[in-house]
Symmetry: C2
Subunit: 306 residues, 2 copies
């Protein structure tokens, strides 16, 4: 195999109570990438369609993630990467993670799979480090592994994949505003009350239990964020109305995707997810705020070979 | 049925990362109770063997818990309760919870099971309120329901039972010192760092995932408490040595049982649990500190009819 074409999925990180640890993979929202072997060693980004991103390997997240992998293998050939972006940068659904995940997945495949998919997370994290200064795994892990992922620990890196209940759908609305990650981070408080923290880890426990037992009601009861959402949601126009519209239309829960500005809702079944999409759209249409909206099953496999 | 004899199990609450939310039920450590119908309405505590506890119904945790249940049913007969205590008060393995759980379980059975076992938790919590001023559920829930229990929320009360992996054993050592709950509470800080809180809920997620997948290694990797153990363990003589002895002898993890002074270790298989018991015993023998030690499988059913 000399060339591989990939679907590189968008992801939702910071899933309500699972701030910084829980993410999920979307199924029909994502980029495409073509990766091919080349005689010249190293990595060249030969084409980027759909976004204004750097072509220099060292300045591109897929280049940096790919190089991190290549350093450990050092083959006597190299790779060319073409990127067809659909996920908007800064949307809060893992645009950079999709590119980092795709690059390491594709290169690993063309090398004959020297690494397991889970092992690739550490390399893809280097792309995230370039993108936001922090080698976080909560988008690249679900992008690579699919389903839900729990980043239990960074030191050592310990990632647990949790299969998604079969009828779980996400609705994600992206208001077309710019929300800088630095602003989203600056509103966080470095200390939290013990009481809120206990409620949060009770809900994390409930959410994980709900996923394993396919208990949609329990998933819904657990989808609360006591700590971050109250601080960050004020940065997102119409957040309360969007969330209310989602819950009134049958969402199990709703919250901020990543560090925003996208807002997600989870629901049981495609029909409910579509109904929620309509209700969310109506909120932004009423205030004339441009938006994109996605309805997607949870993707169980992560990056896919096309 | 006019009389019922019960085994009322000890429990471990505040399971490492699961402070205030996660507990488990022990299988061969516990009290016995006999509960029988009587013509006289209300509840009378007719006998207490093995502990110096109040016989007045309103001052006894089993009396108070039983009355909370009876108030909702109001039968035209009453109950007598005999209590044979084996669990020492103040040991940190749910002595009062065993009595509260036994009382409501037995009365419910003699009434023909008007309530599910899970529904009984709310009544047993009233016994805990008498015992420690706080109607907490993290001992009465596992005592009634068995296995592991997650108290996801108090308002509304939401308890999730999680079956224990089949080979999971607990070793519990009880140093014979008095540790007042008020002292154990006073060392807690009312705020925690966001970073520690995130580590804690990552570990709660990992622990729940490990229980559902019977992944003993993951259970072990998740059994950390970033927040409470560092503060409380200094109140328990030899804590660090006991924990080290447990881990060096194959424990998956070790921590404070309840608010102490008992220390628990979890392990895979009875042989490891026994080996840990020997190592823990050696620590307290070396410093001439009297102790009791228990080795028990996790009890999957809670209160048992004898």
């Amino acid at each position: 195999m000399n060339e591989i074409k990939l679907f590189c999925p968008a992801t939702i990180a910071n899933l309500s109570c699972g701030f910084d640890v829980l993410g999920l993979c979307l199924d029909n929202v994502g980029d495409e990438m073509v990766i091919r072997k080349s005689a010249q060693k190293g990595i060249r980004i030969t084409k980027i369609i759909g976004a204004d991103l750097p072509l220099e390997t060292e300045n591109n997240v897929s280049g940096v993630a790919g190089l991190a992998l290549l350093e450990t293998v050092n083959p006597d050939f190299g790779f060319e990467i073409e990127i067809y972006k659909n996920i908007k940068a800064g949307s809060g659904i893992g645009s950079s993670a999709a590119s980092s995940a795709g690059a390491v997945f594709g290169i690993n495949a063309l090398l004959g799979y020297p690494y397991s998919t889970k092992d690739l997370v550490q390399f893809a994290m280097q792309g995230e480090k370039l993108a936001c200064g922090n080698a976080h795994a909560d988008n690249v892990a679900p992008a690579l592994m699919g389903g839900f992922t729990l980043v239990r620990s960074y030191s050592p890196l310990d990632i647990i994949k949790i299969e998604s209940p079969s009828e779980l759908y996400a609705t994600v609305v992206h208001p077309q505003i710019e929300l800088k990650t630095s602003d989203a981070r600056s509103v966080l408080k470095q200390t939290v009350s013990l009481k809120s923290a206990i409620m949060q880890w009770g809900n994390v426990g409930g959410l994980i239990a709900g996923l394993y037992t396919q208990d949609y009601d329990l998933i819904g009861r657990s989808l609360h964020d006591e700590i971050v959402e109250p601080l960050r949601s004020v940065l997102i126009p119409g957040f309360d109305l969007i969330k209310q519209a989602a819950l009134e239309n049958g969402a199990l829960g709703s919250g901020i995707s990543g560090s925003g500005p996208s807002i997600f809702a989870l629901s049981k079944g495609a029909a409910t997810a579509e109904k929620i999409a309509k209700a969310m759209s109506a909120v932004y249409e009423a205030i004339n705020l441009p938006y994109e909206i996605h309805v997607s099953k949870v993707n169980s496999e992560g990056v896919k070979i096309l």
